[in-house]
């Protein structure tokens, strides 16, 4: 912007520096070309053919501009339904994939049962029953028994998701489910399922946006946490801080929370965990510490005696 030192001595009017671009833009928005053209016209009138040609050309340009406006308008209007269509398509795809997952899960369950039957046929009776017990304890096998059902539901009539009120404590949070599940484990539960999703040692209960995911599968309210355990489980759960908290939240926010005894509950098997880093130990007497931590490639401590088969669940 500034003149080099050598220019200082010259006539200052010889060099005119334009003000910076934005200042110029705000001061004189009209293209300076119009003024220049007008000045040129004053000096010499343009040639005859140019005068004849100029008018039609600018009219053609105006037609083009109008065309452009119409096309842009139509394009913008046409964009809207396509966006809604894309959204609907995505929703349909999600629904379809979910149905597919359900179908495949069902098939996997059938196959697993089939494998279990075949294995029972192939193994000796004591080994087979030991395996079944291990499976039941770790959540990989279906279990039956008496226990309790804890029911949690969102407060009614508070579904204003737009203003963010939906995230408030009047809804069941994933942490509520976590606390209830942990309190049930602590109260002696041997198997827990949330809305039919069996909890294992590696099951996660977490939130993704507005939804709660149990083992990466979305569950929706009302939430039923079913647990199989000893008869004392209900009293111990009712005395736990988690139950206290849920009761007080229910009183203050209208969230419903209830515990009831249930007889002959059947909890489904959890899907087979995908182990990426842990490998089954090949030692002849497998250690029942089932919760495979990452990177435990070394074979388990051989000779550590058998312990309670439900150890992996707690």
């Amino acid at each position: 912007m500034s003149a080099s030192p050598g220019d200082r001595g010259r006539d200052p009017s010889a060099r005119v520096y334009a003000p910076d671009f934005l200042t110029e833009l705000f001061r004189e928005p009209l293209d300076p070309g119009y003024a220049d053209a007008a000045a040129r016209r004053q000096e010499a009138s343009p040639s005859r053919w140019r005068r004849l040609l100029a008018r039609p050309v600018s009219l053609v340009v105006l037609v083009v501009i109008g065309f452009l406006f119409a096309v842009a308008y139509r394009e913008t209007v046409a964009e809207e339904p396509s966006r809604a269509k894309a959204r609907a398509g995505l929703i349909a795809a999600i629904k379809q994939r979910e149905a597919e997952t359900d179908r495949l899960t069902e098939r996997a369950d059938q196959l697993r049962e089939e494998v279990g039957r075949q294995r029972d046929a192939a193994l000796s009776g004591s080994q087979a029953s030991r395996l079944r017990k291990l499976e039941a304890g770790t959540g990989l096998g279906r279990v039956r028994g008496d226990g309790v059902v804890v029911r949690l539901a969102d407060a009614a009539g508070d579904k204003d998701a737009v203003t963010g009120a939906g995230v408030g404590p009047s809804r069941v949070l994933y942490s509520d489910l976590q606390k209830v599940a942990n309190a049930l484990w602590a109260a002696g539960a041997e198997a827990i399922a949330i809305n039919g999703q069996r909890l294992t040692a590696t099951t996660t209960i977490r939130s993704a946006g507005e939804a709660i995911l149990v083992d990466y599968r979305p569950v929706t309210g009302p939430y039923e946490v079913a647990a199989i355990g000893p008869g004392s489980m209900r009293d111990r759960f009712e005395d736990s801080p988690a139950a206290d908290l849920m009761r007080s939240v229910g009183r203050s926010n209208g969230l419903s929370f209830g515990v009831k005894d249930a007889e002959d509950l059947t909890l489904p098997a959890a899907p087979q965990p995908r182990l990426r880093y842990a490998e089954p130990s090949v030692s002849p007497s497998p250690s029942p510490s089932g919760s495979g931590a990452a990177g435990s490639k070394s074979p388990g401590p051989s000779g550590s005696g058998s312990s309670s088969p439900s150890g992996g669940g707690r």
């Binding site: 928005p29 009219l59 501009i65 065309f67 406006f69 119409a70």
Partner: protein, 110 residues
């Protein structure tokens, strides 16, 4: 008057023909519209200032659209397409605003 009719003819033509814009050109459409608006308001103001020039109008429209499209294209290639189109819209928007203000002063003397 003829100019307004030509503009309307273009709109009618666009509505009637209902052309489909190729997907590759779609990002440039809004920028082209803003550039065209700039040229139109500049032309109207020049007309009111009695310095309208057909050649200047045609050249300014074409160069506006081309330069705006080029900037957006370059921005897309460099990964700053959004920011550069914002820049184009701001500059052209300021000019449109200034020219409309001048037209208003011409028409209403206020």
């Amino acid at each position: 008057m003829i100019a307004v009719l030509a503009l309307l003819a273009g709109v009618v033509l666009g509505v009637y023909l209902d052309p489909t814009v190729p997907a590759a050109l779609q990002p440039y459409l809004p920028i082209a519209v803003v550039a065209a608006l700039d040229a139109v308001f500049g032309g109207v103001r020049a007309k009111l200032d009695r310095i309208f020039d057909d050649k200047q109008f045609v050249v300014s429209f074409i160069s506006n659209v081309l330069v705006a499209a080029l900037i957006v294209y370059l921005g897309d290639q460099l990964g700053v397409g959004g920011q550069l189109s914002t820049g184009v819209v701001v500059v052209l928007g300021v000019r449109i605003f200034g020219n409309v203000a001048a037209i208003r002063r011409h028409l209403f003397r206020a």
